[in-house]
Chain length 433, copies 2
């Protein structure tokens, strides 16, 4: 660091401002930081990755539709124009709430005036044997790359084996919610394109994509007409759908169901549900809410705390006495913004106001040319045209930071370019000398 | 694999054709296969990666200018329209020339009628202690990703350390040839952009990019005026250049020179030279030529062989009695094409004809707005405008397969998008749970 006084950067003047530490650079953490950008606070975002991941499109990375760089944005770059927002590339070891300290894994300590827990959610395996070890969830860029490599390597192996004997490759997706629907549709499309374009000796009928769920229909958060539409569209893409199936074990290359059936698998994708991540709630002695989330009061503070807040998927945000907000990107963004505003109010010695979730609807895409959306008032949109309009607006709203144009151009281009886009097995390159 | 006879694909008819096995999917291997596409031979390309890597732009991946997918093309996709070209994703364990067999690491065997060795080159470390262990060469996608992550992580760490004390980060590039010039220029530009845009507390003067070479000038394959121009341009980009320096050891975080000086380093990039890769020459009992390359006759066959050929960087291709072709992409492409034509001639019982290298000139880019090129007749082009024209033509010529338009759009877009492009630390994501 230069020691000349003439070029002292602006951040040095910030050290006397109240310090807000945000743990997690997902939708909720980024939204909180945006609400505090260029305000009279100093902010430090802590994340184990140096980038924010656009989770709604992870399944596209897993199926070679997008590249990692298309869905990951360096946190520093997002806030390059806000002098008061800093970033620490680290994991949190422990939160010492009694001393208002966050201890990082490099043994440095961050003293905070306000702490925002935005640690998100991760896959819930419900204690099913082998599920966490052998199945592939889709909650991080690393997950997505792993699934992509597994898929492409399986096709290569099957191609060699098909010289000697007939081959059946099974990909099983567990869970019929939006993630399961999107992933199974994209998987089936990718496999067909890869077989058609890449000169594999396999045929489409050699590869099976099976979507299983315990429920009697897909997308249970949507109206039944949407479920029927999704089922029809997925089946047209070649996805086989089985309801009422309960997984009892995942093995390295197989999955077992409660009726005793065992299917050999090339990969099991786990899209069966989420739980709040991390052990921070324990450090903070937070009251556990549904799905391992930290219970918060209406203004988003941990129950019994004055300066610790929880937002997004990590928080059980009350809607009323018995209901909580769903774990969705719009909730994360809205709660982050609200939290930022409340921190500023507390610092200004004003009363906080309660959070109210504004329903933006929900959506699931099915392959590359269809989608279903449930509108805030309960209506349903199906098909291509409505989808494109809805998708554009939705993404525009979600991206919510600089470089929107750049991101949209990238996505549009990749979308149309996909059939000839690169199906790279990159983990292979990682480990090779 | 489907067993119905009605849909028997065309490849089944190919099994009686002569089988050409090509080891390596680089410029030379791909060019050979292109020359054999849709001819009366059956071809199998064997590579440990499922993609071809566009090596001339690897330094751009290392410096976050391009993404891996921009410089890597799946080999299957390149030949998706040629029924007679197959691909095997494997490493070669051994070549049994006496039985005309290639044994792969999955223990399968490929019997060949003709074998083409296109295994390329790798970094030469000249036995310097620590160089192969601690320095970073740039000959594969994995190398490029490793360098990028090292660079970005070093900036993050230095940013934290700069809170306590003044920091100096040294990046040392060993070798003043095109790779060294391109990498040091791009490194210096990336560091300045990252510091300016990403809110790091570092200043440009805290980070040093040092290019060292034993020779008294840069780019010794170019005329002196080009060397002077490259030096001036690099210095303007902030690169420090030292000539007459001999490296005696590379340590984990330092480099030592013959004059006793030891410099602490964040990374050492090794661009000091190449040697032919692999141990195939040994299996084939090939006469060793300069740089570990296999000596070939004028028609590109191994000396004393009738059906084993060597092309590209793996081959010592004679120009006359004492000179050999340089290890350059145009030589690889031209020799691959020539080899394909000769194999077809041999199969047609015709005489082979000798290979003649048509000099296309050489080029090195310096940062993002300048380049030097040496034309075939010895002239030199410098600066921006000539560079853009030359670059466009050069890349167009080098890409040489389907999807040219796609590739050019990607590159153009990334080029202009670079300052706000993603500087992702992705190895981090790989290893995270």
């Amino acid at each position: 660091m230069a020691t000349s006084t003439s070029s002292t950067p602006a951040y040095r003047d910030l050290t006397r401002l109240p310090h807000v530490v945000i743990i997690g650079g997902g939708f909720a953490g980024i939204a909180t930081a945006r609400g505090l950008a260029n305000q009279h606070v100093r902010v430090t975002i802590v994340d184990k990755h140096n980038f924010h991941t656009f989770l709604p499109l992870l399944y596209q990375v897993a199926t070679a539709g997008l590249e990692p760089a298309d869905v990951a944005y360096p946190i520093r770059t997002i806030f390059g124009n806000a002098d008061n927002i800093g970033f620490r590339h680290a994991r949190v070891s422990v939160v010492d709430h009694s001393r208002n300290l966050v201890v990082l894994d490099d043994d440095t300590e961050l003293a905070y005036d306000h702490l925002v827990v935005a640690t998100g959610a991760t896959a819930a395996f419900f204690g099913i044997p082998g599920a966490s070890k052998y199945s592939l969830p889709l909650y991080s860029l690393a997950d997505a790359r792993k699934l992509r490599n597994r898929l492409l390597l399986a096709l290569e192996r099957a191609d060699v084996e098909s010289e000697q004997a007939s081959v059946t490759l099974n990909f099983v997706v567990v869970g019929g919610g939006p993630t399961g629907v999107e992933t199974s549709g994209a998987l089936s499309e990718l496999i067909r394109i890869a077989i058609k374009r890449d000169g594999l000796r396999l045929e489409a009928s050699d590869v099976r994509v099976l979507l299983v769920d315990l429920a009697p229909r897909l997308l249970t958060a949507f109206p039944e007409s949407a479920s029927r539409y999704a089922k029809k569209e997925l089946e047209e893409l070649g996805v086989e759908i089985q309801f009422g199936r309960s997984v009892v074990e995942v093995e390295e290359n197989a999955i077992r169901f409660s009726d005793g059936e065992r299917i050999e698998t090339a990969a099991v994708v786990w899209a069966a549900g989420v739980t709040a991540s991390g052990t921070l709630s324990h450090d903070l002695q937070a009251s556990p809410g549904p799905g391992g989330r930290a219970r918060v009061t209406a203004d988003l503070r941990l129950v019994e705390s004055v300066n610790v807040w929880a937002v997004g998927d990590a928080a059980a945000v009350p809607i009323n006495d018995s209901e909580f907000c769903p774990q969705l990107a719009p909730v994360a963004i809205q709660s982050g913004r609200h939290c930022a505003a409340q921190i500023l109010r507390v610092l200004d010695a004003k009363e906080t106001v309660p959070f109210r979730y504004r329903n933006k609807g929900i959506m699931a895409t099915i392959g590359r040319h269809a989608a279903v959306a449930k509108l805030p008032r309960g209506g349903v949109i199906k098909g291509t045209a409505g989808w494109l309009a809805w998708l554009g607006l939705h993404l525009w709203y979600l991206v919510g930071f600089r470089n929107k144009i750049r991101v949209m151009i990238n996505w549009t281009w990749r979308y149309f370019d996909w059939p000839s886009g690169p199906r790279l097995i990159v983990a292979d390159a990682e480990t090779a000398e």
